[in-house]
């Protein structure tokens, strides 16, 4: 499966998006902490985290015996670069030429 396939597959599940939301609200959590506020079994959370990690949306760091989970937004940035930026480009160009004119350049 390509990187993009793994990424969109990971995002296509409500439970996994919820996990990303939990990590966005509070980064650096253990499995037990992530399980605490979710209506999912520990095993379910473990499986979802594995899919998120394979898509690189979650990064894991070991600190002693603990395994800490971090939200990794870099693949989302790549979606932005690939799918959103090109549609924003004309607006950005207009803004930067407005800025140049207002600041006294040649626009």
């Amino acid at each position: 499966m390509s990187d993009a396939d793994l990424l969109f597959k990971a995002l296509a599940d409500k439970g996994r998006r919820k996990l990303l939301d939990r990590l966005y609200a509070q980064d650096s959590q253990t499995l037990s902490e992530l399980c605490r506020h979710l209506a999912m079994t520990r095993q379910g959370v473990t499986q979802h985290l594995a899919v998120l990690e394979a898509a690189s949306l979650v990064a894991v760091q070991r600190r002693g015996r603990e395994k800490l989970h971090f939200l990794n937004p870099v693949p989302l940035q790549q979606i932005y670069d690939r799918w959103i930026y090109k549609f924003e480009k004309p607006r950005l160009k207009a803004l930067s030429s407005l800025k140049r004119r207002l600041e006294g350049g040649q626009g």
């Binding site: 990187d3 509070q26 980064d27 650096s28 959590q29 902490e33 690189s56 990064a59 760091q61 800490l68 971090f70 990794n72 937004p73 870099v74 989302l76 940035q77 790549q78 932005y80 670069d81 690939r82 930026y85 924003e88 950005l92 160009k93 930067s96």
Partner: protein, 153 residues
Amino acid sequence: MRAAGRSRFVYVIYIRSTPQKVWKALTDSKFIRQYWFGMDIQSAWKKGSPWKMTLPDGMPTDTGKILEIEPPKRMVIHWQHEWQKDIKAEGPGRCTIELKKVQASVRVTITHEINRPKSKLIEAVAGGWPLILSNLKSLLENGKIAVKDHPRH
């Protein structure tokens, strides 16, 4: 964040390249200016040497020094922001960059941390790194950057 009194993030990107090429792109001004939205970084890249990030006009935004360096695997930078007063007042943070060969790719891991809760430095750099890493990946894999003028820059 979880650990009391600390703010930290961990970002990861896989780049289809070699550790040597990624390392060069992270330490060579010619490369840096291409994917870092015109910013430049200057350092001798030796343990203890000063490190400085500057705007295109040469004004420094961040300074520091190299705490650890082991090309092409790992470096730790002592990172002091200089530009915005409230962020500067937080004092220095640490940025660790690790490269690891994984099959035909390099896994780049950036850990940026500071010993204080709810840090503005960490919030500020957390917004910048994804753009920079994504551009770096495009530059190394396709020879050109994806995003030139970013709305947040």
